[in-house]
Symmetry: none
Subunit: 202 residues, 4 copies
Amino acid sequence: MTDSGDSRPADTVLTRPGKRERLLGAAADLLYREGVEKTTLADIAQAAGVPLGNIYYYFKTKDAIVDAVVEAHVRGIKEMLASLDRRYRNPKGRLKALFRTLAGQHDRIAQYGCPHGTLCSELEKTGRAGEPAVARLIEIPIAWTEEQFRSMGRRDARDLAVEFIASYQGTAVLTQALREPALLSREGRRLERWIDSLDTSE
Amino acid sequence: MTDSGDSRPADTVLTRPGKRERLLGAAADLLYREGVEKTTLADIAQAAGVPLGNIYYYFKTKDAIVDAVVEAHVRGIKEMLASLDRRYRNPKGRLKALFRTLAGQHDRIAQYGCPHGTLCSELEKTGRAGEPAVARLIEIPIAWTEEQFRSMGRRDARDLAVEFIASYQGTAVLTQALREPALLSREGRRLERWIDSLDTSE
Amino acid sequence: MTDSGDSRPADTVLTRPGKRERLLGAAADLLYREGVEKTTLADIAQAAGVPLGNIYYYFKTKDAIVDAVVEAHVRGIKEMLASLDRRYRNPKGRLKALFRTLAGQHDRIAQYGCPHGTLCSELEKTGRAGEPAVARLIEIPIAWTEEQFRSMGRRDARDLAVEFIASYQGTAVLTQALREPALLSREGRRLERWIDSLDTSE
Amino acid sequence: MTDSGDSRPADTVLTRPGKRERLLGAAADLLYREGVEKTTLADIAQAAGVPLGNIYYYFKTKDAIVDAVVEAHVRGIKEMLASLDRRYRNPKGRLKALFRTLAGQHDRIAQYGCPHGTLCSELEKTGRAGEPAVARLIEIPIAWTEEQFRSMGRRDARDLAVEFIASYQGTAVLTQALREPALLSREGRRLERWIDSLDTSE
DNA sequence: TATGAATGAGCGTTCATTCAT
DNA sequence: CATGAATGAACGCTCATTCAT
């Protein structure tokens, strides 16, 4: 569950517990709110309550932190989707719950945009480390959504999934630009009606 | 129409022609492709073929350049919409043409995202200059789209406009994330069918 | 009266009248209030209402402006002393009038110090142009004062002159440091009593 | 006693000893000899044998260095006065010793003026940081001098103190302007006679 | 003479990264 | 493992000075 995917030190008694996690959390928050370029390692260190020099024990470079934040988001997304799978058995219910979950933070989205979409945008531009990883922030929800549509018997499941996630991402962009959280709520209602209206052979 | 809104030196014969424009063009391009934070004034200077120190004759600060780029985008958007108004008399035709124009650069969008959406995202985060200007990049197309829907007799014109622009912005986000320009084409076809299917009392 | 000491352009109809004088006045004011290093040529140009590039027609370099300002001060001091010579026949009266004149601007002195003393200080430090000229800002008043004491029959005229001018300069330093213009008035009264009490064989 | 008043890094064994002190010393020297505006951080770094970027570990900004130099001067003045208090019991002896100490560096004063007076002058002009601190460079010696006069039973102790310090400062100005260190020696002798001649009820 | 424009060296400052202990 | 200190390249910006007309 907490596997980071890279060689992180074992959680022995010697390691101050949670230090890496605190760094990751602080980094995720700052990268989201301030942007990747504007966030300094000193900012992250301070926010995490970790001495600057000590960061490098946990992360080789700033890029490594960024990568780890992306990975943390990927894990978070996977966990969320798994949770939806557990809590909802019906694909339509799952889709509606997905949007509610994504759009739940509409006030933060109005300030900083979608955490995945904006991170993706910024990283693709600056072309950090030739990361293909970042695309998963978008691809994973699409794939899961596609699966739901497919289980509803839709042949055009992929297209519908793209349309669904695009609706969320696009509304997030507008919500941030116009600083109008209500946009997400309204779009949520529209999508719910749309999903309810869909033919299903299930 | 081409008034920049800030005190730029008069375009006399003495001024090497287009220097400011070249700076603006280089800045717009770099800001789009590299992001605002990552783009340096030296980059802009070099791309425009202007000595670094000379930038400050045309723009007081980097922020002023960013503002000017936003303004240039705003002007460009207005001109594009005016051109659509001229070329198409039918609101449905206009809307379809808008999407075709926006999505026309799908290869660049697959690399760098929507020029307006990503700029908006980045600027809202870093909160430069308390600019409300940047929201216009999104608001103006929405307002124009709303107008088209309204002229079609739609009471829910604003909602439809938000939905329409959000579809484009969201697809742009996905297109960039997945590096799949085809997404925009497919969404274009879907929106065309949708628009054609809309009731209109015109 | 208006001879500048260096080759300034003749005051023909072609030359906008007073341009050099305006530059000099603006420079003197800014050098006094902001300090030599902090004052830019652009500041001077703007304050004088003269285009930046045009300064160089009147002054070869910034140093030349500084020199010219020193010269202008020297001229001003000489004129003031000549005026005192004309208006007062009695050496004691002359000395008291000198202090009243110097200390007259006590509010400005409380903000910026003595125009001659602070200019002298700053220029001696930065060692501009190996100027010996600047010392005259101090030497000329001392010499004049010495002359007055000598005409009073004092053998120690030079020492008394140094003491007198030092009292003014020192009080000016304290006046600026403590921002207390009253210091100069009080010192003026003390010096008047002192002068009145002096033996004179005249 | 040597507490700097700002958050300087603890003087642990890890810190290369004296680095901050060397920076402060180099800064004080350069600020005195070259003036505040003319002194660059690179100059200070080089004079202290510290890499440019490392300055910022010890001082946040150039202004902070200037402030620290002022504070160092204030501390130095206080220590000198405390030393005089210890070494001399008689107020007249103390006053004479003060002048001797201040004027001791007459050769440097002939080149750069009084370290306190000229710093004060320059800082009051450029209005750095709204510092009232700088006035203490002048006020503290005046207050101490006043105390001596008061302990001699003088009612006009403040005026005498102002006169005394002004004499020093004014002579320092003349000494620098005329590059004549002897002026300070002569003024020292005059002030000694003056002090010896003063009535005292002690 | 007059002037807007151009130029480049240098300024204060930041920051990812490394080092010594 | 931990950490204060060190480092240097680069950033945004300024400015005296020069140029072209």
